[in-house]
Point group: C2
């Protein structure tokens, strides 16, 4: 389900502070925010796989998008947020 | 010591294929290739620390610069190469 409003605002803040550097423009192979074609195959892997990749790092993406201060549920919330806006 | 010529050509190839994406322009906080001011504090940490960061990933940098196929000594060679050209 899409994140609840309050969560969405929080997730958006995390997205802007940490994820947008690569996902905003879709650099270094990052699926671009809002790009349904880019996110389709990712979403098809299922959220657990995307959470794992976001937490551990994947290809050019560093663990937790390069922000080690993010808690697990914050990383998952921002993954949910990006999916909800790119799907 | 600066890498021997043959090594240097090999290291340059690795640099261009893997490292330049961030170090070429110095994006996402990466110390820009050839930028003595940016590399000074890094070099001051000593090569072992830089090798570790390059192998394990550090802040926005993914492990092995995002290329898991790189062997340890290839990662070290390209670190040496970047230092030699930025110091």
């Amino acid at each position: 389900a899409a994140p609840a409003p309050a969560d969405s605002a929080k997730a958006e803040k995390i997205y802007k502070a940490t994820c947008m550097a690569c996902h905003g423009a879709g650099v270094l192979g990052a699926p671009k925010f809002g790009d349904k074609a880019a996110w389709g195959p990712r979403v098809a892997k299922g959220k657990p796989a995307l959470y794992t990749n976001a937490l551990n790092g994947f290809k050019m993406m560093p663990p937790r998008g390069g922000n080690p201060a993010l808690k697990d549920d914050e990383v998952k919330a921002v993954v949910d947020y990006m999916i909800a806006k790119s799907n």
